[in-house]
């Protein structure tokens, strides 16, 4: 995913630099509106080409990186593989199933994108993973995907268009759209993209006009020596903002969504036969538990966050404490299946963990309130707020975490908050409960945590274990005493 983003960003930047040069030149030489509009059109076309050339983010994750060039000669083998894009709850990640992998792992009731493609595959021993040269060769194998259970075909899938959409930019939230919706999302994005470049064209024309007006006013002031009234000076035109969202050019693949279970997969080719090397086992698994995970930032060491995903966890405090909570949805999966799902192209990943379980962090919880309870009563209700970590000035070490409010504190203007979280301040003298509730006041399942202040018991912790010894000594002494008093003893 990172490689795809870097590549797309690089392509866009290069296109913009190359194309904006004539814009600047056109402005400098005042060669007229036509040259400017032509230059903006070139930028638009180059950016569009760069976007369309951006590789599928799921495949970029398993693309042989350029750094491997010249590090030995791996044996490339043409293979029919399954390219796989799976949701991890936060984003879609890419892996693939080369010929050597018999089983594909997917999350139950979640869409996964599978494609059967011909590509060049090799095993890279340095990192212990199979790599594919998707950029060099990536041909869709025509056919329909058959899903079988207990030997019966239960679904036959055709390739459908899909796209990834990023509503707040490529580093933010990622959404998958399938079918007509994918095309619609992309067209909407393209419409905004075109509108932006239309606005840029208009901006440059208006800017040139404004520049001409300013030149005229300046000349007049120089000739007459009379300053202009500020109301006569026009405001410069406002530069348009580019769209913050992004949508990938739709591609086609098989969109698979199944309930938990064991299935078989195969591709039936256009000639009606099964395509060789496409028969695989499909293991679809679901979470064992789900809940609300807490990411906790203690105020006294804000860079040392810790996690609490298990609802049976208890928060233990040593005295009065202030901490910040970032909630997220969390699900517990079998570690082997979860790791294999994400890194199928790395044969050693997840091995030896068939009986282990792992919590996966999903999307952050939004629109909830944090309630603090004591004795069953809500004693505090906390909203999520932005906070800023301010280093103390001078030689003194330390920092203060303050609410991020640039209007109230001008020193914060132009800065970004360090984090957004729920601030909790608890006295270390009683037991509390924390929980999250939604807008309607319903408690979010798996969000309740007990908070207990811990007490230092001193030597008492070693006195309590002596109770059995005391009891045993009493029994033993009583037995000796009663044996001494019995007639037999006498």
């Amino acid at each position: 995913m990172g490689t795809a983003r870097k590549l797309a960003r690089l392509l866009s930047t290069v296109a913009l630099i190359v194309a904006l040069s004539p814009v600047a030149w056109a402005q400098e030489t005042e060669s007229g509106e036509t040259a400017l509009i032509d230059a903006v059109e070139r930028v638009r076309e180059l950016t569009r080409q760069a976007q369309e050339a951006a590789p599928d983010p799921s495949q970029a994750a398993t693309q042989a990186p350029a750094e491997t060039d010249g590090q030995g000669r791996p044996t490339l083998e043409e293979q029919v593989v399954y390219s796989i894009s799976v949701s991890t709850g936060r984003q879609y990640e890419g892996t693939f199933a080369p010929r050597q992998m018999d089983t594909i792992y997917l999350l139950a009731d979640e869409y996964a994108i599978l494609n059967v493609q011909k590509t060049m595959v090799y095993f890279w021993p340095i990192t212990g993973e199979y790599m594919a040269d998707w950029f060099g060769m990536s041909e869709d194998v025509p056919g329909r995907l058959e899903i079988l259970q207990d030997g019966e075909v239960i679904q036959t899938l055709e390739r459908v268009p899909y796209t990834y959409y990023y509503p707040s930019g490529r580093t933010g939230e990622q959404r998958l759209y399938i079918g007509d919706e994918a095309i619609q999302v992309y067209e909407d994005y393209q419409a905004r993209f075109n509108a932006y470049f239309d606005a840029v064209s208009a901006y440059f024309v208006e800017y040139q006009e404004w520049q001409r007006t300013m030149d005229r006013l300046l000349r007049e002031v120089q000739e007459t020596g009379v300053y202009k009234d500020p109301s006569e000076i026009p405001d410069p035109p406002e530069r348009p903002s580019p769209p913050v969202d992004f949508a990938y050019n739709p591609r086609t693949a098989f969109a698979v969504k199944l309930p938990a279970g064991r299935y078989q997969l195969r591709l039936r080719g256009e000639d009606g036969g099964i395509v060789e090397g496409t028969t695989k086992t499909l293991e679809v698994f679901k979470a064992r538990r789900s809940g609300i995970g807490y990411q906790v930032i203690p105020e006294h060491k804000w860079t040392r966050r810790f996690e609490s995903n298990d609802p049976s966890d208890i928060f233990y405090l040593d005295g009065k404490r202030i901490f910040y909570v970032l909630p997220h949805y969390a699900e517990e999966y079998n570690q082997y299946q979860y790791v294999k799902m994400r890194y199928l192209h790395k044969p050693l990943e997840g091995e030896g963990t068939r009986n282990a379980w792992i919590w996966a962090q999903l999307a952050p919880v939004t629109g909830a309130r944090l309630q603090v309870l004591h004795g069953g009563e809500v004693v505090q209700e906390v909203e999520m707020k932005p906070y800023y970590v301010r280093q103390r000035p001078g030689y003194a070490l330390g920092y203060d975490i303050v609410e991020f409010d640039p209007k109230a504190d001008p020193a914060l203007q132009g800065r970004s908050p360090s984090f957004e979280a729920y601030r909790v301040e608890l006295e270390g003298d009683r037991t509390y409960q924390l929980r999250f509730v939604d807008e309607r006041g319903n408690v979010l399942a798996g969000s309740v945590r007990e908070v207990r202040p811990i007490r230092a018991p001193g030597r008492l912790v070693y006195a309590i274990p002596l109770v059995p010894l005391v009891a045993g000594s009493i029994v033993f002494a009583w037995r000796r005493w009663s044996a001494g008093r019995s007639p037999a003893s006498a």
Binding site: Y316, G352, N355, E450, Y462, V475
Partner: protein
């Protein structure tokens, strides 16, 4: 031998043995030592960590010392059952008993119920000890702790049956003791190392560690069915997940495990005879 005679024989044997256990000082000394170890673990891990960190999220910290205590107590009773049968054989007591109204079934079940009854006393002291610890430190005494305590009865059942089957199968006391301690230590160490290997080695573990993990995972496929510790750990996991069916499954499988071992012990006693 009729069922009523057999039940009577079991009852008499259990009563006699438990009286002897409770009137001795051994069980109390062992319990105090076990609880002292648990308190040391508790004070030097959880209490110290919370003090150092200021705030920590943990499963109930009494769980670990409780597991240590009940595990050691169960192992002690398993060892006692193993010693008891070997001693009876060595001293000729077994032969004498079998001339009387006692058969292999009554003898084995008498030994088994004796140790379970002794564990009832252990459990009472365990409850007092850990309730006391949780009150003085305010760590909380939850239903899960009670669930784990109850589950330890099944661990003890497995340990005692394991001790009985080893002593029924060997003619020498030393052999049965060495075998019992060897197996229990192996099971304990295996469980600890397996948990550590899975927990310590992250996704990017070195390939050597991955191969170690793979070997341990394969071994675990077998050991999980023969180690009493594994039955207990599965039940404990179910308690922490509030998985009632998993808990019942763990308890029932522990009972089946015990029943199978006791049946094998009876068969061995019949086959090998009761003479020295």
């Amino acid at each position: 031998m009729s069922v009523s005679h057999r039940i009577h024989a079991i009852r008499v044997a259990t009563k006699r043995e438990i009286r002897s256990t409770l009137h001795g000082i051994g069980l109390y000394v062992v319990l105090s030592l076990v609880f002292l170890v648990a308190s040391y673990v508790f004070a030097n891990t959880v209490l110290r960590n919370v003090g150092d960190a200021g705030i920590l999220a943990l499963p109930n910290p009494v769980t670990l010392p409780l597991i240590v205590s009940t595990g050691l107590a169960a192992a002690y009773l398993g060892l006692c059952s193993s010693l008891s049968i070997s001693r009876d054989r060595d001293l000729g007591t077994m032969e004498v008993l079998f001339y009387g109204p006692v058969d292999a079934v009554a003898y084995v079940l008498g030994k088994y119920f004796h140790q379970l009854a002794a564990y009832g006393v252990v459990l009472a002291f365990t409850l007092v000890n850990f309730y006391g610890l949780s009150v003085v430190t305010n760590v909380g005494f939850s239903l899960e702790i009670a669930g784990i305590m109850l589950l330890s009865v099944f661990l003890t059942s497995c340990m005692v049956s394991f001790g009985i089957v080893l002593s029924a199968g060997s003619r020498r006391m030393m052999v049965s003791v060495i075998l019992f301690l060897g197996f229990v230590l192996f099971f304990l160490i295996f469980s600890l190392v397996h948990a550590w290997v899975i927990g310590a080695a992250g996704r990017d573990a070195a390939s050597t560690m991955v191969y170690v993990r793979m070997i341990m995972d394969s071994l675990d496929q077998v050991i999980r069915w023969i180690s009493p510790v594994e039955y207990y750990l599965r039940g404990m996991d179910a308690v922490l997940r509030k998985d009632t069916s998993g808990y019942i499954m763990s308890a029932v499988s522990s009972l089946l495990y015990s029943a199978a071992l006791l049946a094998v012990s009876v068969w061995m006693l019949r086959k090998k005879g009761v003479r020295r």
